[in-house]
């Protein structure tokens, strides 16, 4: 995966983990979303059509918000069969998020990802912005 995507897979004994970077928190959230979709290995369908979903989330802190965001995406991928392609964050605070997720449907994911977890999750500041490592249960 190209580095400019903002995510890379890191080793985890049983499941999957992504290291995510972003110059801003919004970028971190978008990169995390792209990484999550990448993990599921969704395929385009020849008869796919565009679809959009509006998400509004509230959480006690930024890590919970990130986990909720990624779990919403996993729901869209596995239950709504959406291949997400674009993410527009209209509002993002440490406790809430409002976004539009655009993509095509139907898509078939080729790898099951059950959930994003809180395992060792800290959204931390780095010299170039923000970073988080998210572990996914598969």
């Amino acid at each position: 995966m190209p580095a400019e995507q903002g995510f890379s897979e890191v080793a985890h004994t049983a499941d999957l983990a992504l290291k995510i970077d972003g110059q801003t928190i919004s970028e971190l959230f978008v990169h995390a979303a792209k990484g999550t979709a990448w993990l599921t290995r969704c395929d385009h369908s020849p008869d796919s059509r565009p679809e959009q979903h509006e998400l509004t989330l509230q959480s006690p802190d930024i890590e919970s918000l990130l986990v909720s965001w990624l779990n919403e995406l996993l729901y869209l991928i596995f239950e709504r069969h959406l291949l997400p392609e674009a993410y527009k964050l209209h509002e993002l605070t440490p406790f809430s998020l409002r976004a539009t997720v655009s993509g095509v449907t139907p898509c078939k994911a080729r790898r099951e990802v059950k959930a994003a977890t809180f395992h060792d999750l800290v959204v931390s500041e780095t010299p170039s912005g923000y970073q988080a490592v998210v572990v996914f249960d598969i």
Binding site: S64, S68, H119
Partner: protein, 482 residues
Amino acid sequence: MKTQGFKKIGPYLYEAPASLRSDMLVPARLYADDGLFAQAALDKSLTQLINTATLPGIIGYALAMPDIHEGYGFPIGGVAATSWADGVISPGGVGYDINCGVRLLCSRVSAAEFQPCLQAFLRLLYQAIPSGVGEAGEIRLKQADLKAVLEQGSEWTLHRGLATIADIAHTEDGGCLPGADISALSERARERGRDQLGTLGSGNHFIEVGEVTDIYDATAAAAFGLWKGQLCIWLHSGSRGLGHQVCTDAVNTMQRTVAGQGYKLADRELAYARCNSSEGRQYLAAMNCAANYAWANRQVMTQRVRSCFGQVLGSEVTGAELRLLYDVCHNIAKRETHFIKGQRLVLCVHRKGATRAFGPGLPDLPDDYRSIGQPVLVPGSMGTESFVCVGTQTAMENSFGSACHGAGRQMSRSQARKSIKGAALRDQLGENNILIETGSLSGLAEEAPHAYKNVSTVVETVHQAGLATKVARTRPLAVIKG
């Protein structure tokens, strides 16, 4: 080697004292030989075991079995019991795949007799039982049926002619935990349960056709109906999307509870609620729904396996021809009564990647096994041996009647994919006369045998520690990997 404060206190037992960290309420114990302990020290599993020892109301010890590896909250292989009256329940001690479990079916035919049918049987099974990511089953449950499945578990399959009374008797808890309540489930969890009944799933879920190669305990083997050369079938699956939605919802809710109450957690995935709180009762009701769904799921697939078996043999196969030896769950939290130092205690026993291993004489066991003890099913990785063991009184005294659940991973999935390609692995297994059907070659590579610990070593540890003693060994002949 960093021991992280653990000291060896027995040939197969390591302990970290409660004084190791100020937030520990009890000691932490790991059943392992020296090699398995050294492996455990390589990832975060020992820290997770120590974290488990901080759960409010925890009784005795935070325990882990020799197939330990890093998980979420609890390590995989973790066992912890809390006081039902005033302790807590944690979804991190159950896992995302609630009632992921395994069952073993035993036939009346030998593997040698069945060999000519094996390829055809494997193909039939692969067609008959949906496997892989997001696959839906033939059964589409309307709300009323879903409610019945969630609240009745295996009993629902019995009413529909998909199970025998013997199947129910040979399923842990009769395939149904009481107190399941569909109203405790989110709409998303219910949605996910509507069309996945009778599906295998993916990841490390599998169906394995095998042969009994060794008998270690002739008395227990006779009671379980096992004999050398026998054809048997392992089935490993869980509660599918419904189960992990229940866990996701519960972790989310309990994060808010914990934040609101100002609890300090050693690990956010150890978020908990008091068993007797509204959040705790809600989670239990939802978890029991997922557990019951998983049992019904494995039973529906069992009926399909029997149907396919009959097709290749050219005759109808009843529950007697392909008998359920037992079904165990290895991701669950249950209300159990245990006697600890002469005191009768009602506990919430969490087993996360660990198997119940009840000893002889307990009313929870079916009549035909009660004098022997509970079968403990320990599948190895794809391509390696598996074991049937039996629970013991020692397990009741030392591990809340618990033992290991499998081989336990030792290698990351990314490393496994780099180490071997799926096609090469399939060919390698074929050279060892193991047939494979799978929808994902990269998924196959992730499940390569060398990505797992040596299951024989894991089982030998619980055997020598007296938690579950060996009864029989099986080898794989054919595998469907989800």
